[in-house]
Amino acid sequence: MAQDAVTEAPEQGDGVRRRDFINIAAVSAAGVGAAGVLVPLISQMSPSADVLAESTTEVDIGAIKPGQAIKAMFRKQPVFIRNLTAKEQADAQAVATASLRDPQSLEDRTKPGKANWLITMGVCTHLGCVPLGSAEGEPKGEFGGYFCPCHGSQYDTAGRIRKGPAPKNLEVPEYTFTSDTVVKIG
């Protein structure tokens, strides 16, 4: 057969045939093209522009008294804004940071001079339930902070994980105080 004649004819030199080169070149070009097509196919799954555009929220915190907390919404997720009492702050500061699962001090988790304002995501770092403890009358757990009913994670008054399956402290979102009574989250 004509084709056999071509493939079987030994080439001169190092044995690389023109056909091998064409094969490799064609398959590589097609491979790069196919990989390129994957980029939009995969990237379309990531958050779209309108979802990302929801990513700042302003909250008026003027009415939150010490010992109280509110649940605000940020990126369609709850944020806990809590005005810690002096005792709650002292409790959090009394813990040896190094002994914690996710070692952070209250100061690491609040803004300078505003250690009473504990602002964290209301999303359990285990599997994402909303912990209890922000509203009046909800259980705050053994450490006086938050208690997640889903699998029993317990957070302290700095929102740090103290017991249960969650690996990390409640996440502190990015935020700034735009005035003494308004925070901008995100």
Partner: protein
């Protein structure tokens, strides 16, 4: 392949002869589920469940395609469109109850089908590929059912989606990025709901494709049977049609009776009332539970409450790995059980451990449906350890030290008490 004594398809009508020459589809059916497929004569009712699973898949696809005509895959509309199906669409309540209870029926049937395989050693050579494809189907079913349960966008839908996609965030380094990518956001919302709808529509057809491969692989060695002794001669088999079409038809009738009883008289018995509350991202229900068919695996997920000290693996990742391994271990089953004897009937030690496994999975299931409190946590931990011990330690050891009971010479001998061929054949 088939046995040499299989009936041959011989179309009589000229039209059928013409069709056979152009596209031998009737021949395919004749050889697959007709008189041309010889099947062991001694199959018991546990061999009905494959056909029943196929019927469940058809019920899900039919009712699902219809539900999709009335359902709106949008976070603002999904809950109301589901209620619209229930209240306004003609027969909508029935179609939806058929679909939601159809999912449960499907899992009941498939679990029996799988445990049939465990007992009768159906996963052993030469049927490993049938088994492996079956495990793939089971994984696809779990993904499909999970995404389907999200669609009505009630509280359990939402929080189920939150917790299960949260599992992916346990993966080191890429977990959080992967989680956001899967959801198309930072928490379940419209993007997630819409893609789940798209995939929930697609996956059953993928399942259908794998089911076809499963049956194709089955037809190479043919069905096993309760003795586990392979077919030796024509007297060991009967043609699928009319013998097993009749037996499967009877089983189907019994199945439909139970299924309809649930659909019409207890349609919400297996559901959770919280799913009639619209999704609320700000409020987690007090007690999140998945659908019953996920309970054993959910119990394993929650059994890991401590970090693994040596390797520094966090409890959350361990739980996720444990849950997935509980199914992945099935892929290795054909090589973990090394006994050449298939059927549990002839394996006295194996048989005891088999029933222990059944009890263990039932206990896991019970714990998975209960709150994450003591004593359920410690019970799930013990049961989860035993689950893995069964597959990884008990089976390999039992299969190498056990003395099986004597096997019948053939299926015919097992059924009739004697087989003429037995006296002629050299002893095995």
């Amino acid at each position: 392949m088939s046995f040499p004594w299989a009936n041959e398809y011989q179309p009589q009508h000229p039209l059928m002869q013409w069709l056979d020459a152009k596209l031998p589809l009737p021949r395919l059916v004749y050889n697959a589920i007709g008189a041309g497929y010889p099947v062991p004569r001694n199959l018991n009712y546990f061999w009905n469940f494959g056909v029943l699973a196929g019927v469940c898949l058809v019920i899900q696809i039919l009712t699902g395609v219809i539900l999709a005509m009335h359902y709106a895959g949008n976070a603002d509309l999904a809950f109301n469109s589901t209620e619209h199906i229930m209240r306004d669409v003609n027969w909508g309540w029935m179609l939806r109850y058929m679909h939601s209870n159809g999912a449960s029926a499907f899992f009941v049937v498939v679990y029996i089908h799988i445990f049939r395989g465990f007992f009768y050693g159906s996963y052993k050579a030469p049927r490993e590929m049938i088994w492996l494809l079956g495990v793939v189907i089971f994984l696809l079913m779990m993904a499909t059912a999970f995404m389907g349960y999200v669609l009505p966008w009630g509280q359990m839908s939402f929080w189920g989606a939150q917790v299960i996609t949260g599992l992916f965030s346990a993966i080191p380094l890429v977990g959080d990025a992967l989680h956001t990518w899967l959801l198309g956001g930072f928490a379940p919302d419209n993007a997630a709901l819409n893609r789940f709808f798209s995939l929930h529509f697609l996956l059953p057809f993928v399942i259908l494709g794998v089911v076809i491969l499963h049956i194709w692989a089955l037809h190479i060695p043919g069905s096993s049977n309760p003795t586990g002794v392979e077919v030796k001669s024509e007297s060991d088999t009967v043609p699928f049609h009319p013998y097993y079409t009749a037996k499967d038809g009877w089983g189907l009738g019994a199945f439909l009776l139970i299924y309809c009883a649930v659909v019409f008289f207890a349609p919400n018995a297996l559901g959770h009332p919280d799913n009639y509350i619209p999704a609320n991202p700000m409020q987690t229900p007090a007690h999140i539970v998945p659908e019953w068919y996920f309970w054993p695996f959910y119990a394993i997920l929650r059994a890991f409450t401590q970090n693994f000290p040596l390797l520094g693996i966090p409890a959350k990742l361990l739980g996720v790995m444990g849950m997935f391994s509980a199914i992945l271990v099935w892929f290795f089953l054909p090589w973990l059980d090394r006994s050449p004897v298939r059927s549990g009937h002839f394996r006295p030690t194996f048989r005891k451990f088999y029933w222990l496994l059944v009890i263990d999975v039932a206990v896991l299931g019970y714990c998975g449906g209960s709150p994450a409190e003591e004593p359920f946590v410690i019970i799930s931990q013990i049961a989860a350890i035993y689950y893995f011990l069964h597959f990884l330690v008990v089976l390999p050891i039992v299969s190498s030290i056990e003395q099986p009971e004597p096997l019948p010479f053939s299926i015919t001998e097992a059924v009739l008490g004697s087989d003429q061929a037995a006296s002629l054949a050299p002893a095995e």
